[in-house]
């Protein structure tokens, strides 16, 4: 819808506004705006450097190292990379089906991961914008503001502070990960064809103690995000409101599936573009294009072509696309969410938060189911098979569909790796969103911190990896310069890493 803002005509006559860095993740992300003499936005671009370095330096390493090596891509969702790589490596050792114990341990681990990541993103990073307002006083617009109860962040019927619930939700997810992999971050668990240990009864029982409370808080999180979204006309109908295709994994019966399924893509009306595609054939349906102004590729759906084939992944895509969620409370929440779409997908970017909390609730319910399943306490852990030269692992990471594709040689060393991380799939959508926001809120106006934050909020809705790295405490360091058509600086505003503003 805002393609016209990707590249402006007569670029040399426009003022250039640069938000640089938006953050630092393995490099550098920035937003550039080109504005004409009347401050009308003519071009808006989000530039990100992604984790491509890994694809190069894992070449020449033995395949069984991959799940542990590549999880270092990220400190927020290492488990996603660990499991996506492990799924690819299963194929390299010729294993198509894990034992029940290994499969359930991996799923439990993944639920813990998605739960902690979603909690972190909503409560720690995004809730201040939504609770206090996008251009509220920046002094309070952070997790400390939420924790200190400014102005009131307790939930109805509960004295518990929302920020504290978020911290405890995240901690629980991290404890699930620690029990299974030995460490909260960057442990070991999945090995070729299986898993390295089952849960002990003590570990299981310790996790069961709090799970009902976690489910209750998850439910409260759904209610909170639903309320924030539905009660704000601007958020619901206008802010970063773009329409798009969606893509994600789906279970064979159409259920939401985070760990293992087939690919489904739907158009803006919810009609299937493709469905139940084996993800090992992803190159038949997806392609990536390079643009000269950013290091991040733009994936697109082949049948729709480069211009129209972009899509969104992540919680919004998954909740929109699935036929049902296989746990009861989350399914109830999904039905309410689906009503908002009125038979079509919900498109508003800020609905991501609502969808994210529905998934968090699903994870909490899923964790309880698995903890009560005796398979996680023991049984066969590893299956063996015949070596293959290629493996493709796909998983629904917290931020969306994550592809790990490896080829090895006769010596068992990686010769080729291709990773499509979730944030890459949302590249075009984030660009569209900031263009919409730039046009609606910045067009024709003088820059302020609050206006800058509109851009951040639009990017943040997607929970891109760039927000986790430096956005702790809501203090993404930003620098915006407004240059006139001659390249002279007319205005400059910097937000420092301590949150203070300076000229």
């Amino acid at each position: 819808m805002y393609e016209s803002l990707e590249t402006a005509d007569n670029r040399e006559n426009l003022k250039r506004v640069v938000i640089d860095p938006v953050s630092r993740v393995e490099g550098h992300g920035k937003v550039t705006l080109l504005m004409d003499e009347e401050n009308h936005v003519r071009e808006a671009r989000l530039h990100i450097v992604e984790f491509r370095g890994f694809e190069r330096f894992i070449r020449g390493r033995p395949y069984w190292e991959l799940p542990v090596l590549v999880q270092r891509l990220c400190g927020i969702c290492p488990v996603s990379h660990h499991l996506a790589a492990a799924k690819a490596v299963d194929q390299l050792v010729g294993v198509d089906e894990l034992t029940a114990t290994a499969d359930k341990l991996r799923r439990l681990l993944h639920f813990g991961q998605v739960l902690q990541s979603h909690a972190l993103h909503f409560y720690h990073l995004s809730s201040p914008d939504l609770l206090f307002g996008i251009d509220s006083d920046a002094k309070h617009r952070n997790i400390v503001g939420v924790l200190s109860g400014y102005p009131d962040t307790s939930l109805e019927g509960s004295k518990m502070n929302i920020g504290l619930q978020g911290v405890k939700l995240r901690k629980y997810g991290q404890e699930v990960i620690r029990a299974i992999t030995g460490k909260r971050i960057h442990g070991t668990g999945a090995i070729p064809g299986g898993f390295n240990k089952a849960l002990t009864v003590e570990e299981r029982d310790a996790l069961l103690v709090d799970i009902d409370q976690i489910i209750e808080w998850g439910n409260a999180g759904v209610n909170l995000t639903r309320h924030l979204f539905l009660s704000n006309h601007e958020y619901r109908n206008h802010f970063a409101a773009i329409r798009s295709n969606f893509m994600g994994l789906i279970r064979s019966d159409g259920a939401m599936e985070l760990y293992h399924g087939r690919l489904r893509a739907t158009d803006e009306h919810g009609a299937a573009i493709f469905d139940h595609v084996d993800y090992r054939d992803y190159q038949d349906v997806l392609r990536e294009v390079v643009k000269p102004w950013t290091y991040m590729k733009f994936p697109y759906i082949v049948s729709l072509g480069e211009a129209k084939g972009w899509y969104r992944v992540g919680p919004l895509a998954r909740v929109n696309q699935c036929d049902f969620i296989p746990t009861p409370l989350a399914e109830q929440a999904r039905q309410v969410f689906a009503e908002e779409g009125g038979g079509e997908p919900v498109h508003s970017s800020l609905a991501f938060h609502w969808a994210r909390m529905i998934e968090l609730l699903h994870c909490a319910e899923g964790i309880k189911e698995l903890l009560l399943d005796p398979d996680i306490l023991g049984g066969e852990l590893v299956v063996q098979g015949e070596k293959r030269m290629e493996g493709i692992g796909v998983i629904e990471a917290p931020r969306g569909t994550l592809f790990h594709h490896y080829q090895i040689n006769e010596d068992d060393l990686v010769v080729k790796a291709n990773l499509i991380v979730s944030t890459t799939s949302n590249n075009q959508a984030m660009n569209e969103s900031i263009r919409q926001v730039a046009v609606r809120y910045l067009d024709g106006r003088t820059l302020t911190e609050g206006l800058l934050n509109h851009i951040e909020v639009a990017i943040r809705a997607y929970d891109p990896c760039l927000s986790c790295a430096t956005h702790a405490l809501g203090k993404m360091p930003l620098q915006v310069e407004l240059l006139d058509a001659q390249g002279e600086r007319v205005s400059r505003l910097a937000k420092n890493s301590d949150g203070s503003l300076s000229d």
Binding site: G60, R61, P62, W64, E65, P67, V68, L69, R72, V93, T181, G182, K183, H186, G187, T188, G189, I191, P192, N196, K197, D411, D412, L413
Partner: protein, 238 residues
């Protein structure tokens, strides 16, 4: 019985024992990396440096003798040992976070033992060759510390002479005794002592790794000093 003193404690020894032998037999830990009691002492890593009557010696090669007053556990020696450990880290490419030997690695364990908090010296980032040609064994020279334990094991136990060190000084590197220089063309087998003995992650059995969960690895809950005395000390069965 003849005795030496180590850090003021009287330690008995038998003729022909090194200071290291006598110390281990008496359950006194002297840090070591290239030394393994099963093999002829080598004296190259210098972590077992001790002061014997004021002079620095390698405990693993210095024969115990009546009248020796040995200082082992002193700040000066441990500072030097930490520096040596740091040099070993920067000379190779020791990326513990991704290494399957992590938690079971003697070099890493010594880093913890000496409270090594950084590398101190600039990293060399050497380019070293991985030899993955063998179907069952991987040789990752990035992690080789030139302790020659594999050289000794292959020569003295396996009687195969598969490994050796070539080059001098900073160019020293582990080579494979085969026509092509590749492991695949050597007579090495996966069950060889030379494969098992590597104290770091340089020689590895292929297709396996990370199978021991975190928390159950050798050094997860025990310092290398404890493990050494348990497995190599006088009270051990081995």
């Amino acid at each position: 019985m003849k005795t030496i003193t180590i850090d003021g404690r009287s330690i008995p020894f038998e003729e022909g024992q090194t200071i290291m032998d006598a110390a281990l037999a008496a359950d006194v830990y002297i840090p070591h990396l290239c030394h393994n009691p099963e093999f002829t002492p080598h004296g190259s890593c210098k972590l077992c440096n001790v002061k014997v009557n004021g002079r620095t010696c390698s405990a693993c090669t210095m024969l115990a003798a009546e009248g020796q007053d040995v200082i082992n556990n002193s700040k000066e020696l441990n500072d030097a040992r930490r520096a040596i450990t740091q040099m070993l880290f920067v000379e190779g490419n020791h990326i513990c976070p991704g290494c399957e030997k992590s938690g079971n690695c003697q070099l890493q364990a010594l880093g913890y033992h000496f409270n090594m908090l950084d590398a101190h010296f600039p990293y060399f980032y050497p380019r070293r060759e991985v030899d993955a040609s063998h179907p069952d064994v991987l040789l990752d020279r990035d992690r080789c510390i030139l302790c020659e334990l594999c050289v000794r094991a292959s020569r003295d136990v396996d009687h195969k002479n598969v490994f050796d060190i070539a080059g001098r000084g900073i160019n020293a590197h582990l080579i494979v005794n085969s026509a092509t220089g590749k492991l695949a063309d050597s007579v090495l087998e996966v069950d060889d002592k030379a494969v098992e003995v590597c104290p770091v992650g340089a020689i590895l059995v292929k297709h396996h790794g990370y199978e021991v969960p975190i928390g159950q690895r050798l050094y997860d809950h025990h310092d290398i000093a404890e493990i050494s005395l348990m497995t190599e000390g006088g009270g051990s069965d081995e």
